[in-house]
C-alpha cells in the first residue's frame, strides 16, 4: 500500500549530462503532495535568486499532481514551473493530457531540469531509468514529426511526448510546451526555458499503474466509476462534455464581458460569426485527457476556400476564440481556427500571442506603430491575414516578429508615450480572455497572482451570486455561505475569493483539472476529499486541503519576494479602472480605491504585510514554511 506517489524525483543536470534520483518520505509529501507544491519546493530550494530565466541557472520543474494518473476523471494535470522569461517572476503553467499520468507510471513524481546541454537533446524516461539522447536531427522540425521520430526511436508508440516548438527553440518568452500535440502548458514561457536548456522533448513511458501507488485502490476505483457516470448528470459537467469551452463565447458576450478590441469593449457586434453556432460548423469531434469522462477538448477540421485546418492540434478553445477573434476584432471562425492552429504548430502561448497582437493593433490605431515599423505588415484591428502572417514571424523572431516576440510590456517600454496604457498585462503576462469589469474577483486574481494575469487563480464571481444556484451550493462545503454580486469588492467577496484561491491552488497540487471539482463542475468537495483519502490513506479534511493550497500560493509568493516583487506589482492595467466602451456594461469600471482596499483586506486574510505583500513570519510559521525566508534554508 502506498500514499499515491512514487516518492522519487528525477534530477537532470544538462550541463554535464548526468541524472540522479532523489527520494522523499511520506511526511514530506503530506506537506508538498505534488503539482504546484512539489514543483515550487524544488524551485525554492534549487533556484538562485536573480538567475537569468533563459540562462543555465534557471531551474525547470515538471511535477505531476498527487492524484495525477488516478482512475478519476480530470486527475490528469501536471505543473511546469521556473522563473519566467516573460515576467521575471514565478512562472507557472498546468496542462492535462497524457504526459503527467505517464510520468507517475514511469516511477517519478517530478523532473527537475538544471543547467544547459551543449547540444540539442531529448530525455527518455522509462520505468525509473532516464537517458539523455541527441536531438540535433529534431531541432527545427515540426511537432508531429518530432513526436513520431521519438516514438520510433524509443520503440514504443505509447510513449508520451512533451515537447516545445520553434518558438521554444528560439526562446520567445511566451513559448509554450505541448504534450501529445494537443495539451499545452501555455502560460509564462515555460517552453522558452526548456528551449534555453537545449531540450526539445521529454518522452516518458511506464509499465506501472497508479493503483499500485494508492493506499486503497478499490475505493479509488469505485469513486472513479461513480464520477464517470456523474458527468452527464450534472449541468456543468454535461455542458463541458457537450460543448467544451467554445460554448462560453455567446454567454460572455451577452453578459457584456467578452474581451473585444484589446479590452476596450465587452461585447462583439458580430459574435455569431465566432460564437457557438459558427464553431459547430467547423467542429469535427471531441477528445479527452487520460481516463477523463468529461471529454471537453474541441477538435476542428475543415477545408475552406481560404484556409484549411486539420485535427492535429487542439482547439480553438474559448481563450483562442476570444483572443484571436473578438479581442483582435476578427469576425471569422475559420480564420481564428487557422490562427490557433498556427500558434500550436510553432509552439506559442495563444493567449499571450493574441494579447500582444491586440496591443500592437491598438498601437497602430494610435500611430505609435506604423506598417513600416512592422516590415510592411498592416497589423490593424480586423486584419486577419496580417494575424496569420505574423504568428510564424514571432516564432522565428523575424521581421515584425522580432518586435512582437518581446511581449506587450516590453514593447510598450520600448515605444514609450501612451503605449503602456494599451498593454493589457500584469507583471508582463498578457490578460486571459476574461473581463474583470464584469467579474471583479477575476481582477483580484490578475493583480495578485504571482505568475501574472491568469484566469484560474480563484473562482469567477458569478459562482457567488445566488445561494440557490448549482455552483454556489457546490461551494458551500468549502465554508462559503454568503452571496455577493459580480461587481462587489466588499468583505464577502474578498473572503469568498480567498477560499476560492486556496481551493484552486489545491487542485493544482492534486493534479485535478479546473473542470472537475465543485464549484466549477461536477465533483463534489467531499468526493475530492474521499479520493485523496483513498489514494493516500491520510485522514485529510477540507481544511487541510485548503491549507495545502495556501501553502503552495505562499511558496510562489516567496519566489517573487526573492526576486524583488512587492505590492506595487499587484496592480491592474489602468484601462480596467476606466469605463467599458460597449455592450451591456458600458461605462462600468473598477474603482481604484475600492480595489486597493480589497487587496489590503485580502492581504490581511492571507497574513501578508499590507504595505509590501510579503508573507509575515507568523503565517510562514503556521504553514511550516519558515525555511523559505532563509535563502540557505531547506524545508
Amino acid at each position: 500500500m502506498g500514499f499515491g506517489s512514487n516518492g522519487a524525483v528525477l534530477r537532470v543536470n544538462l550541463t554535464d549530462g548526468t541524472t540522479e534520483v532523489e527520494t522523499f518520505d511520506e511526511a514530506f509529501y503530506r506537506q508538498y503532495p505534488g503539482g504546484k507544491a512539489l514543483a515550487t519546493y524544488h524551485l525554492l530550494r534549487d533556484l538562485r535568486p536573480g538567475s537569468d530565466p533563459l540562462g543555465p541557472d534557471n531551474v525547470l520543474v515538471l511535477a505531476a499532481g498527487l492524484l495525477t494518473g488516478a482512475p478519476v476523471s480530470t486527475a490528469t494535470r501536471y505543473t511546469a514551473i521556473a522563473r519566467s522569461p516573460l515576467t521575471g517572476a514565478f512562472g507557472e503553467s498546468e496542462a492535462g493530457g497524457y504526459w503527467g499520468p505517464e510520468l507517475k507510471m514511469a516511477g517519478f513524481d517530478a523532473i527537475v531540469l538544471m543547467g544547459r546541454s551543449p547540444r540539442p537533446v531529448y530525455l527518455w524516461v522509462k520505468d525509473g531509468v532516464a537517458e539523455i539522447r541527441d536531438a540535433s536531427h529534431l531541432w527545427g522540425q515540426d511537432p508531429p514529426a518530432v513526436q513520431e521520430a521519438i516514438k520510433a526511436a524509443v520503440g514504443d508508440k505509447m510513449a508520451r511526448v512533451l515537447q516545445i516548438g520553434r518558438a521554444g527553440e528560439n526562446q520567445v518568452p511566451y513559448a509554450m510546451m505541448m504534450n501529445e500535440l494537443r495539451h499545452y502548458n501555455g502560460r509564462t514561457g515555460m517552453g522558452a526555458v526548456m528551449g534555453s536548456k537545449n531540450v526539445r522533448a521529454i518522452a516518458v513511458k511506464g509499465s506501472h499503474r497508479y493503483t499500485e501507488l494508492a493506499h486503497d485502490a478499490a475505493a479509488l476505483g469505485e469513486i472513479g466509476r461513480r464520477l464517470s457516470k456523474a458527468v452527464s448528470e450534472h449541468p456543468q459537467g454535461w455542458d463541458l462534455r457537450t460543448k467544451g469551452t467554445p460554448g462560453l463565447t455567446d454567454g460572455l458576450n451577452a453578459a457584456g464581458i467578452l474581451p473585444t478590441r484589446n479590452f476596450r469593449q465587452g461585447s462583439f457586434e458580430q459574435v455569431e460569426k465566432i460564437g457557438w453556432a459558427a464553431f459547430e460548423q467547423i467542429r469535427s469531434g471531441t477528445r479527452s485527457c487520460y481516463a477523463c469522462a468529461v471529454r471537453c477538448k474541441p477538435e476542428t477540421a475543415f477545408q475552406g476556400e481560404r484556409y484549411s485546418v486539420t485535427d492535429t492540434y487542439d482547439g480553438p478553445e474559448y481563450e483562442a476564440i476570444a483572443g484571436l477573434g473578438s479581442n483582435c476584432a476578427i469576425f471569422d471562425i475559420e480564420l481564428v481556427a487557422r490562427a490557433n492552429e498556427l500558434c500550436n504548430e510553432v509552439g506559442l502561448d495563444v493567449i499571450s500571442t493574441a494579447g500582444t497582437v491586440a496591443f500592437v493593433m491598438e498601437c497602430m490605431e494610435h500611430g505609435l506603430l506604423t506598417a513600416a515599423d512592422l516590415g510592411g505588415l498592416d497589423l490593424r484591428f480586423g486584419n486577419g491575414e496580417a494575424l496569420l502572417e505574423v504568428i510564424p514571424l514571432i516564432a522565428d523572431r523575424r521581421g515584425a516578429g522580432e518586435l512582437l516576440a518581446l511581449g506587450s510590456r516590453k514593447i510598450a517600454e520600448r515605444l514609450g508615450g501612451d503605449a503602456n496604457a494599451f498593454a493589457m498585462q500584469v507583471k508582463g503576462l498578457e490578460l486571459a480572455m476574461h473581463e474583470p469589469r464584469g467579474k471583479v474577483g477575476v481582477g483580484l486574481g490578475y493583480a495578485t497572482n504571482e505568475a501574472g494575469a491568469d484566469h484560474l487563480v480563484a473562482f469567477h464571481d458569478p459562482i457567488f451570486v445566488n445561494t440557490e444556484s448549482v455552483p454556489f451550493k457546490g461551494a458551500m462545503a468549502l465554508g462559503i455561505t454568503e452571496a455577493t454580486d459580480v461587481f462587489s469588492l466588499g468583505d464577502v467577496k474578498v473572503r469568498n475569493w480567498f477560499t476560492g484561491e486556496r481551493w484552486n491552488s489545491a487542485e493544482k497540487v492534486l493534479g485535478l483539472c479546473f473542470f472537475g471539482p465543485a464549484p466549477r463542475s461536477f465533483i463534489s468537495v467531499n468526493d475530492v476529499v474521499a479520493a485523496v483519502r483513498a489514494a493516500t490513506g491520510w485522514d485529510v479534511t477540507v481544511d487541510e486541503l485548503l491549507e495545502v493550497g495556501e501553502r503552495a500560493v505562499n511558496m510562489a509568493r516567496m519566489i517573487n519576494v526573492r526576486e524583488g516583487f512587492t505590492r506595487d506589482d499587484d496592480v491592474l492595467p489602468a484601462r480596467l479602472h476606466g469605463p467599458l466602451e460597449g455592450g451591456p456594461l458600458t461605462g462600468r469600471s473598477i474603482d481604484r480605491a475600492d480595489f486597493e482596499a480589497a487587496i489590503s483586506a485580502l492581504y490581511e486574510l492571507k497574513g501578508w504585510n499590507p504595505a509590501t505583500g510579503v508573507p509575515t513570519s507568523e503565517r510562514l510559521h503556521r504553514l511550516r514554511l519558515e525555511w523559505t525566508a532563509d535563502p540557505a534554508g531547506v524545508g
Binding site: L240, T242, A254, E468, V470, P471
Partner: protein, 78 residues
Amino acid sequence: MRVHLWGELGFYGPGRTGRFEVTVERPTPIIEFLRQAGVPWADIAVAGLNGEIVRLDDPGLIVRDGDRLDLFPPSSGG
C-alpha cells in the same frame, strides 16, 4: 415562442437540446414561464427577450407567443 437555453442551461431543456419552440397560450410572466419550463432561475445570469437584455426580477416582464427568449448561465470561465 423560440427558446434558446445557452451553455449549461441546455441541461434543463426538453431532451437537453437547449433550443426548442413552445406555444405560449397567453401572455405569461417570465418567472411563471420558467417555473413551468423547469429552468431554475437561480442559475440564469442574463436573459434576452427579442434581442434585448431584460431583468428577470422585473414583475412586469411578460413573454408572448412569437417571442424569442435567450437565457444564459453565469459563465465562469475556463
